[in-house]
């Protein structure tokens, strides 16, 4: 499936256009949906043929999620018609949609199974709920069923592992296997590579292409242009609930991105700057524990350094060690020339270190209907002691800081008191940046800061990070594209430790 030679591609394209014109698998005509006063979709037309990968692009809030939710039967459109395989298709419940052959694999794959069950159990979970399946189970019968599910999907997983021990990549594959075994005709993949390393993503792409070869229609949603360039046969761009652009191969992605964010995107590669600032962070012989190699590096004031490398190699561990969450096994850390040994995050913050951890919902936000669930509350959380030394929350110190951040970072929110869950992913991420920029700091640690952030918001965040010349910034990202876009220097982290990569070299590697 990998041999994508010219004649082969041309032949497939010809076959594709033939099938599309003959009988597309799924046709949407004039689909519209409003939620209260919000127009989510307005008159979307779409068609997908069997055996093609359709890339669905759109900034946060463009209507992708609503469209997926309509396909999945969780939301009913207000207007428009859908036809699937030549028949009228109007699912009322998710079960209707599944029965009709639509399978959706969500970004959050922790719901593909449950900890405590084995992979084999998780693979046949649908059948446990199927009344036709025997009531009494044996390990052997479950394994046999699970093996047949994997055979249909065309790849392998270890059946005896506990679901809770699976890596995100394996959970993703498991979810896909379940979808395929449910006789899916249309597979929707929502940000499947968001938490995958580039190696794991490559394996996933092979599998997706294999599924396409077997006649599955695939809708692929991603913010990562690299994924889309590799996979997409056609692209449809949503903006403000409308189809803003639709292209068949050859796809002009620059045009697609412009249609998506409504303006041309600035140059994607940060130019390397000569940084003459003082060394802020100096790490020598740092052992993160286990068999990991020692780590040495420096970050200067005003410099942006990116750490990239496969998932699970310890990038997050390194950042959280610098933030005082874990104690290093050995080595020295110096901050601004002085020995630095934070006991906990509070100690790190007091020393002028800030961290926006991976997965912002889990690590940065309180629920939106609780006190502090607003933009202002999110910005203020670490600074309450400094801003309100007498203890009482009076005055507008917090709101002012939030308003500053909203203006400086171009956060789209109704104001400092807006609930955080009314913001899109990109604006939420900007709010976290505003949090730490509200007070002076020396070292900013960002772990996967562009997860679920669309290209436009990403450009804003990159610009804001690079403009802050008083701070040393260290970013961990598993996406080399992002590293190139934001950093002055890039390190690749692997089992052997850190190795510096020149940007030219890095670009040529890809």
């Amino acid at each position: 499936m990998l041999t994508d030679g010219v004649p082969d591609a041309a032949a497939r394209e010809a076959a594709l256009s033939e099938r599309l014109s003959a009988a597309p698998l799924l046709t949407l005509a004039g689909v519209a949906k409003t939620f209260g006063a919000t127009v989510a979709l307005q008159g979307v037309d779409l068609r997908i043929a069997a055996g093609e990968i359709l890339a669905l692009m759109g900034a946060n809030g463009a209507g992708k999620s609503t469209l997926v939710s309509i396909l999945g039967g969780a939301t009913r459109p207000d207007q428009g018609t859908m036809r699937l395989g030549g028949e009228s298709f109007a699912p009322v419940t998710p079960a209707d949609s599944r029965r009709a052959g639509i399978a959706i694999v969500h970004q959050a794959t922790d719901r593909a199974g449950c900890p405590g069950l084995t992979v084999a159990d998780a693979l046949v979970l649908d059948r446990f709920a199927d009344a036709r399946f025997p009531l009494f189970l044996s390990r052997r019968s479950v394994r046999r069923e699970a093996a047949s599910v994997l055979r249909q999907a065309g790849f392998d997983l270890q059946l005896d592992l506990d679901f809770g021990d699976l890596k995100p990549a394996e959970r993703q594959l498991l979810a896909i296997a379940r979808a395929v075994s449910a006789q899916a005709r249309l597979l929707v993949l929502d940000e499947p590579t968001a938490s995958l390393s580039s190696h794991e993503a490559g394996r996933l792409f092979d599998i997706i292409e294999d599924l396409r070869g077997r006649g599955l229609a695939i809708v692929y949603i991603s913010h990562r242009l690299g994924d889309l360039k590799r996979l997409a046969d056609r692209v449809v761009v949503l903006r403000g609930g409308r189809v803003a652009d639709a292209q068949a191969a050859p796809i002009d992605f620059e045009r697609a991105v412009t249609a998506m964010i409504g303006r041309p995107l600035a140059a994607a590669h940060a130019e390397a700057r000569a940084i003459a600032g003082d060394v802020v962070l100096d790490v020598a012989g740092l052992h993160l524990g286990g068999d990991a190699a020692p780590i040495d590096f420096q970050v200067r004031q005003g410099e942006v350094v990116a750490l990239t490398g496969p998932l699970g190699v310890g990038k997050s561990r390194l950042l959280s060690t610098l933030f005082g969450v874990h104690a290093p096994a050995a080595g020295t850390m110096r901050l601004g020339g002085r020995s630095y040994w934070p006991r906990d995050p509070a100690g790190a913050i007091a020393a002028g270190v800030a961290m926006a951890a991976e997965d912002r919902h889990r690590t940065s936000f309180v629920p939106s209907d609780w006190p502090g669930g607003t933009v202002a509350g999110t910005v203020g959380l670490p600074h309450l002691g400094r801003w309100y030394p007498h203890g009482f929350l009076v005055g507008d110190r917090e709101s002012k800081a939030a308003q500053d951040g909203i203006e400086r970072l171009n956060i789209r929110a109704s104001g400092p008191q807006a609930r955080l869950d009314t913001l899109s992913g990109g604006n939420q991420q900007k709010t976290i940046l505003a949090r730490w920029q509200a007070e002076p700091m020396r070292l900013l640690l960002l772990d996967e800061p562009f997860q679920g952030v669309d290209v436009g918001a990403r450009a804003d965040i990159v610009a804001a990070i690079r403009a802050d010349r008083g701070v040393a910034t260290l970013i961990a990202t598993s996406d080399p594209e992002e590293a190139l876009e934001v950093a002055d220097r890039i390190f690749v982290m692997d089992r052997a430790g850190l190795s510096p990569v020149t940007k030219a070299h890095h670009a040529s590697l890809r």
């Binding site: 809030g61 913050i349 951890a357 940065s364 502090g372």
Partner: protein
């Protein structure tokens, strides 16, 4: 749901906000409307219901429940749940009685002893939860059991009053300090019962603490997302411990009020305190449609249940229907908070 939260960015703010505010207002004030309807209804059927004397007696009856409910609310705010407060209050009744009747202590030492007892139990809860990592519900439920049993041991299961025969055969000759009894029976300005004053003071203090101080914000942050709170530099362990110390201390205060009103160390005095307080704290979620623990709501919840039961009693509803009524109110309030609110 994801769709609506993602797309709501484009809401024209005015209309969206007004619409939600309207329905929020209706749901949030539901309990007040019910309270008003109840006052009118019971007042028409039984005019004495609306009298000041009756109002004071209802408030006095619910004051201990309300104080305990605010304590539970603080532990709910940190993501915990203190189920030991019923037993702490009951045991505090015994501790206070024992201090006065057996040890011949005056009010000035008795009250500190009882508070110390409540705080020690709070520390025990905190230690179980933070050091031994026992889940909150299980730890405090176990301590509830422990105290329910422990309070019976010093007196061999007897209630405490002057003349009590101790396990070693001697008779206890001490008596309740009249100044102590005033805590339960006295009235401020001849109108407000002292327990009601205590309830108001506790409610105000804790409302300010939880809603208007940075400590309160950090308590809620700890309960809302402990990881995020810790990564923002909050001392989450100490905040949790603080919450259990506060609820332990408040339970002791509730016990003092009960002991001072009853005037003897009754072994069964704390029987329904825990569930009543839990119910009030949970009904509080629905008050003002906060959908989260809040001190004001807990107090309103306790008062609401108090007036409802009082009115029904005046209309000759049999006493054995009381628990059923409380349960029905709780189920209704929770349905209002979680079910209907989400669907809108």
């Amino acid at each position: 749901m994801t769709a609506s939260s993602q797309t709501s960015v484009q809401i024209p703010q005015a209309t969206g906000t007004w619409r939600t505010m309207g329905s929020d207002l209706a749901r949030g004030s539901a309990i007040f409307l019910l309270l008003a309807a109840m006052l009118v209804g019971f007042g028409t059927a039984e005019p004495a219901f609306l009298g000041l004397a009756n109002a004071m007696s209802v408030l006095q009856a619910v004051s201990v429940t309300a104080i305990l409910a605010t304590g539970i609310t603080v532990t709910l705010a940190v993501g915990g749940f203190d189920l030991s407060i019923g037993a702490v209050a009951a045991a505090s009744v015994m501790v206070a009685s024992y201090a006065m009747v057996v040890w011949h202590q005056p009010v000035w030492t008795t009250v500190p002893i009882v508070f110390a007892f409540g705080v020690v139990v709070g520390l025990l809860n905190a230690a179980l939860i933070l050091w031994l990592r026992v889940p909150d519900l299980l730890a405090t439920l176990a301590v509830n059991f422990l105290l329910t049993g422990l309070q019976l041991i010093p007196t061999a299961g007897r209630s405490i009053a002057t003349g009590l025969i101790l396990p070693d055969g001697t008779a206890a000759t001490g008596r309740f300090d009249p100044a102590f009894l005033a805590i339960g029976r006295g009235r401020l300005f001849g109108i407000l019962p002292v327990p009601v004053v205590l309830m108001i003071v506790v409610a105000l203090a804790l409302h300010v603490l939880t809603e208007h101080t940075r400590i309160g914000r950090l308590l809620f942050a700890t309960g809302g997302n402990a990881v995020a709170a810790r990564l923002a530099g909050a001392p989450t362990g100490r905040l949790k411990a603080l919450a259990y110390l506060v609820s332990g201390g408040l339970a002791a205060l509730g016990g003092i009020a009960v002991a001072a009103r009853v005037g003897r160390g009754d072994v069964s005095s704390g029987a329904s305190l825990l569930l009543d307080a839990v119910a009030a704290a949970l009904i509080g979620f629905a008050v003002l449609n906060r959908r989260r623990p809040n001190v004001f709501g807990a107090v309103v919840g306790a008062i609401f249940v108090g007036f409802l039961l009082n009115g029904l009693t005046m209309l000759n509803a049999p006493y054995y229907t009381q628990d059923f009524v409380k349960g029905a109110v709780l189920v209704g309030a929770l349905a209002l908070t979680f079910g209907f609110a989400r669907r809108a």
